[in-house]
């Protein structure tokens, strides 16, 4: 067995192992360290002698490392307490308890005491089973930065005395919202990279989808979990059509819709149907908008009136200037650019999205459609200056140049 085999088993088992050890030791940081030690040992010993039961080997080794760590700690504090604290090894695995433990692991990784960056790193590491190197690659940050974030996060959790448990009923919804937003941050990093020279990083988006599927399987009665999953599936369905062979982005209106991933669309629509049973939340509404695009044969044949209504609903449940801007784009398609320009100008007047390249991008497009070419060109050039994604920037400059 090689490193890739070890990684494969680890991907499947890591969350379970860390969850089981956290319950067993009551110490999340210690559990994570012990699990990492086990996988490091596997990388050395499996190529020499493959275990008959790799998953069991990892769990048993991690458990031994956890016991070693407790013993060391206990020895330092009170040698005589050793016998009393020697933990019993629980070999029985109760599937329902494992589900709750993995959920608890997600809640602890996305805990509000942690910084947003730490939540992302910890979730990918302990729930997703990614290495620090993989996380660093995903977010284009140095490996030591990721390692420092994870170390600090574990200390923060210990210092804050965060318990390993499902949040109490009263906090559950809010905390679940926190988990969903971490998954969405991971997804958007893959679907529109905030930096670097590539527009899409499907492997990052895939991690978010995989975690969202896990959460949907563990929390089947939460509509917004299905809403987020639907949004991710429907957005990812367009990935194959979103970039040209040279890596430059292709806008929705120019995409070859035959290249969309129809099985992903079907999965997205199925998840949306589950989200719709009790009224759509912010993720469900965004998924419904994505579904309206996914079901349309062309831009012209898109139900823009419905999309406007969905953006209005989204603006009520989750008001944001970005939603307003998107509503303006939909209004432009449904009722013409003049009405849309009024919405954008109001956003600018109120300075709701300062420094964003999106406002001048949309304003430039609207002005171009209204035939106000010199103003349109100036707006698109401004957008290009503000844009941090190199691929998007060159599209903006090309459009500006085309306006003469």
């Amino acid at each position: 067995m090689g490193a890739a085999d070890v990684e494969a088993v680890w991907r499947i088992e890591s969350a379970r192992i860390v969850a089981a050890l956290t319950r067993f030791t009551g110490d999340f940081g210690l559990a994570e360290d012990a699990a990492q030690e086990a996988v490091a040992e596997a990388l050395v010993s499996w190529p020499l002698a493959a275990p008959a039961d790799p998953a069991g080997w990892l769990m048993a080794t991690a458990r031994r490392r956890a016991i070693d760590a407790i013993r060391r700690r206990t020895a330092l504090r009170d040698r005589y307490a050793l016998l009393a604290t020697d933990p019993a090894v629980d070999e029985d695995i109760d599937p329902d308890r494992i589900d709750d433990d993995i959920l608890a692991l997600m809640f602890i990784s996305c805990h509000p005491v942690l910084s947003p960056e730490a939540r992302v790193a910890l979730t990918l590491r302990v729930v997703g089973g990614l290495s620090s190197e993989e996380i660093a690659r995903a977010f284009l940050v140095p490996v030591p930065t990721v390692q420092a974030r994870i170390t600090r996060a574990k200390k923060t959790i210990a210092a804050a005395g965060v318990p390993f448990e499902l949040p109490p009923a009263g906090e559950r919804r809010g905390r679940l919202g926190g988990v969903l937003s971490v998954l969405y941050v991971i997804f958007t990093e893959g679907s529109t990279a905030t930096s670097g020279d590539r527009l899409l990083r499907p492997d990052v988006a895939y991690e978010a989808i995989r975690l969202a599927r896990t959460l949907a399987a563990l929390q089947p009665d939460e509509p917004e979990v299905h809403g987020l999953l639907a949004l991710c599936e429907l957005t990812a369905a367009r990935f194959p059509a979103r970039t040209a062979p040279d890596g430059s982005p292709i806008l929705l209106e120019d995409q070859d819709r035959r290249r969309w991933d129809f099985s992903a669309i079907r999965r997205g629509l199925a998840a949306l149907a589950k989200a719709s049973t009790r009224g759509l939340g912010p993720y469900g509404l965004q998924a419904a908008i994505a579904a309206a695009h996914a079901s349309a044969p062309s831009v012209e044949a898109t139900d823009w009136d419905r999309i406007v209504v969905l953006y209005e609903a989204l603006g009520r449940v989750a008001p944001s200037p970005v939603v307003e801007l998107n509503r303006a784009v939909a209004v432009a398609m449904a009722s013409g650019p003049a009405q849309a320009l009024a919405i954008v100008d109001e956003l600018i007047a109120l300075d709701r999205l300062p420094g964003s390249h999106l406002v001048p991008t949309v304003r430039g497009e609207l002005l171009a459609r209204l035939g106000r070419r010199p103003e349109a060109r100036a707006e698109l050039e401004l957008a290009a200056r503000l844009c941090t994604n190199q691929r998007e920037r060159s599209v903006l400059l090309r459009k500006a140049a085309a306006l003469g």
Binding site: A4, D5, E7, A8, I12, P95, I209, A217, P245, S263
Partner: protein
């Protein structure tokens, strides 16, 4: 992400072994499917009916020839599949090893090429 198809290939012996404890087999398969769903990797799973319920369309001649039932000399019969969304062949194989398959059967692990590996039309050159 690469997708992998796990193709169940049973023999008469393994199918007979499975039918002998069919309820246990169904219960174990259901648990296995749940486990893959909770891991976020399962895209589709289907089991196939007795080949006697199907037909074979043979294209050896000029016109397709249809015969009922299984193909004459087949020793191994496709019994069903799981379609997985995983990061590597090793991960697909690791899941395949966990399938509650009957003794004597085989699972073929096949990669589904990604969209950008398949030429879409003659203008696309990679």
């Amino acid at each position: 992400m690469p997708k992998y198809l796990l193709i169940m290939r049973g023999t008469d012996e393994s199918n007979a072994a499975m039918m002998a404890s069919i309820e246990e087999g169904i219960a174990r398969t259901r648990l296995f499917i749940e486990e893959m769903m909770k891991a976020g990797v399962l895209l589709a799973a289907e089991g196939l009916d007795d080949p006697g319920q199907g037909a074979v369309v043979d294209f050896s001649g000029e016109a397709p020839v249809v015969t009922d039932g299984p193909y004459g000399e087949t020793k191994e019969l496709f019994g069903g599949f799981f379609l997985l969304d995983v990061t590597s062949k090793q991960e697909a194989v690791e899941w395949a090893k966990r399938v509650p398959a009957a003794p004597g059967s085989k699972i073929e692990v096949r990669r589904v090429p990604e969209e950008d590996e398949v030429p879409q039309d003659s203008t696309v050159q990679r």
